[in-house]
Amino acid sequence: MKTLTIRDRTSMQKIIRRLMSGCLLIMPVAVQAGSQPPTIQLFPTTVLEEIKHTGDVAAQMETGLQSVIGRLDEQQKLYMQSKCEGNEGDPGCERIARQMGKSYLEMLAIMGDRLPEMETAVNNTSASLEKRLRSELGQKRTSWTLQELLVGAQSDSANKADRPVLRGRSGMRLSDRFHQYYKLVAHSGGEANSSLAVIASDIYLDMQETSRLIASTREEISRATLMEQLNQSFGTITPEMQEVVAGVKSILFGEDEALMPMTAPPASQPAPVDESPLTL
């Protein structure tokens, strides 16, 4: 009999974690950015609507998964409290194991149902952002003027501690990062263009990655479902199941705490230094 291996479930768990955290809190950015239209057109209404829709779809998926995750959590607790580990032949333990397997299958089914819609939403958003980035930053600007745009942002918000943490560098969960984006956009005025360039880049790259993850997840779901169905028919519960429950919990409830970002601006604000006439 072939059962799901630790590697299978761990990889599935990683995919789910990244997928969920990448999409859950997109919505606040969309809503807030909509009230402060930028001068450079990175977030026109159409893009904002697509981001909002993607956030809605992600939220629905989260809602659907949350209850099944909660159930898996309870089942795992029961399994542990009943000292079923190493005692798999026990009929009571076998029953709990089957229930866990059913919940796991349910989780896979929910994801299978929701993912196509999410994939479409993410791909649409990604395509729209791509078009805006190409036009507004890639074609209308040189690398020097792009840099000036970014430096402008630094001057405008030099004292703000809530600038977005950059993608892939901080170890911070994506959802936290989106929350930071939200705060940044919420507190900046019309001069937020440069920050929006960073945010747009960040969201676009995340969308691209999410799109790839969705595609690979969809491929995995069928296989994982088949494996778990086999598991069910033989009434096997494996320790890997516990890992899945723990992993998915961390996806939704954020048990992976953030490593804090790179550097932070110095607390004190020194007096302006003599500006050289050579400064570019």
Partner: protein, 185 residues
């Protein structure tokens, strides 16, 4: 007769000696520099010595002198050092050792937040993306120079933080923009 000639010769010799002595006492004698890089820990004195050498035959070694001055300044990091280097580069431009553009770029490379690596005339898609990796490597080298200029020489942590932040934001935005621009044709 013989006595008179001897006396004249003695006078001439005395005059020659006096003239040599006066020349030796001149505070700024015209001499060729040995192009010895400045030593010590006093930046002001080192700059003064460098100025002298650079106008007396050592122009070709401008870069070496500039680097030595940076190292000397590291011994006493302070924000005023920025001004000293700015003045030095302005002087170098006025003396014709550097063009105005070279002086600006050199100053910005070490003491500015912006990256001279990113100076370009054409769009990001057309000019920067095709050599994105090379641009990032060059920016990284420039960041090292900014670390020396802003942190080690000028003790200006805030500006160095901004330069570091700008590096990371540029990397992110270029990643996204170049991805959006599509493959290089």
């Amino acid at each position: 007769m013989k006595t008179s000639r001897t006396s004249t010769l003695t006078t001439l010799a005395a005059l020659a000696a006096l003239s040599t002595l006066l020349a030796a006492c001149n505070a700024n004698p015209p001499r060729a520099s040995a192009c010895t890089l400045p030593e010590g820990h006093n930046l002001e004195r080192a700059i003064s010595a460098a100025r002298f050498d650079l106008t007396t035959g050592c122009e070709q070694q401008f870069d070496e002198y500039f680097q030595r001055l940076l190292v000397i300044a590291e011994g006493d990091p302070k924000k005023d050092n920025k001004v000293a280097f700015s003045d030095f580069l302005i002087w170098a431009n006025e003396e014709g050792l550097l063009s105005k553009r070279q002086a600006r770029e050199l100053y910005t490379r070490y003491f500015g937040v912006k990256y001279v690596t990113l100076i370009s005339d054409y769009s990001v898609c057309a000019q920067t993306c095709p050599r994105q990796q090379e641009v990032m490597r060059e920016m990284n080298r420039e960041l090292v120079d900014k670390e020396q200029g802003l942190l080690k020489v000028s003790a200006d942590q805030r500006e160095y933080y901004r330069a570091n932040r700008l590096f990371q934001e540029t990397e992110l935005v270029l990643d996204a923009t170049c991805e959006a621009c599509g493959p290089v044709e």
